[in-house]
């Protein structure tokens, strides 16, 4: 649980990302930095489209579609240490499977918020731990995408 010193839960998210990146690390840390960035970009690129599909499926009450999209995003989130995002998506997946979608009108906004936090946490971990230390201005995940990872499309909305 996050305390007052960590209002955005940044450290919790960074810790989960750190654990996951250690699990999928290769033999060369320098290569890993670029590889992790590429993995993130690959995931982030499909998120806006899938969130749109999720929103659409929720509006239609298409439980099977909600379940499939939530499941797919959950797998991607888990793959990169996004445990909080994966938990949200798992809850949505289970609600879809058990016919409890009526109360989930805010689900996409929640997922989008959590994705943005994960994006920042992931960037901070990759920058700070693979290249040897944080850059000036890396104050925390609430401060933005400080590590220069490509901004996910969800963040590029006007």
């Amino acid at each position: 649980m996050s305390g007052p010193a960590d209002p955005a839960g940044c450290e919790t998210r960074k810790a989960a990302v750190r654990v996951r990146l250690a699990q999928i690390a290769g033999p060369d840390p320098e290569e890993d930095r670029e590889f992790f960035r590429a993995l993130w970009e690959c995931f982030a690129e499909r998120v806006p489209e899938e969130l749109g599909a999720l929103e659409n499926a929720l509006r239609r009450g298409a439980a099977r579609d909600v379940e499939m999209v939530a499941h797919s995003l959950k797998g991607g989130a888990q793959n990169l240490g996004g445990t909080a995002l994966a938990d949200l998506l798992l809850a949505l997946e289970l609600d879809a499977r058990t016919g409890r979608l009526q109360a989930r009108t805010d689900a996409v906004a929640e997922v989008r918020r959590e994705f943005d936090l994960l994006s920042r946490s992931f960037a901070l971990v990759v920058d700070a731990e693979v290249s040897g230390g944080p850059r000036p201005g890396d104050a925390g995940c609430a401060q933005g995408n400080a590590a220069g990872l490509p901004a996910p499309r969800a963040e590029r909305r006007p």
């Binding site: 996951r20 290769g26 033999p27 993995l39 499909r46 499941h71 797919s72 797998g75 793959n79």
Partner: protein, 133 residues
């Protein structure tokens, strides 16, 4: 070294597995769906091991497994399921098919062990068949 086919609709998971399996000296072919996997198998022949996601749009990993088992050319290909479905019933369902069932997020060391074991088992089975003649 083994020829490994990875079937997963998530591009970043295909990217991760392809990179790490190649670093372990495996030859890797990837497919984004069960349908694409069948097409590639028909074109290039059987891999030593097939690693498949269970829940994919279109043909599921379970359906892909059934198609392989029904085809004499691919019936003996060991299958490792990789899934974010972690409920006991899902795991048991995969194992009942005779496949290894690993849950996501993938633990690379477990996947490498499963691949090595599957290849060794297949080689032992082939050798046993050969010696029975």
């Amino acid at each position: 070294m083994a020829k490994v086919m990875v079937v997963d609709d998530n591009a970043e998971i295909r990217m991760l597995l392809q990179a790490r399996l190649r670093q372990s000296d495996h030859r890797v072919m990837t497919a984004a769906s069960g349908e694409e996997a069948l097409s590639l198998l028909a074109e290039r022949g059987a891999p030593d091991v097939l690693v498949a996601d269970v829940s994919m749009p279109g043909m599921s990993g379970l359906e892909l497994h059934a198609m392989l088992r029904a085809d004499p050319a691919f019936a003996a290909v060991p299958v490792i399921f990789l899934s974010a479905r972690v409920e006991p019933a899902d795991v048991a369902g995969g194992q009942e098919l005779g496949a290894v069932y690993l849950t996501k997020p993938v633990v690379l060391s477990a996947l490498m062990c499963a691949i090595d074991a599957a290849v060794a088992d297949a080689e032992a089975a082939a050798a046993a068949l050969e010696s029975s003649w």
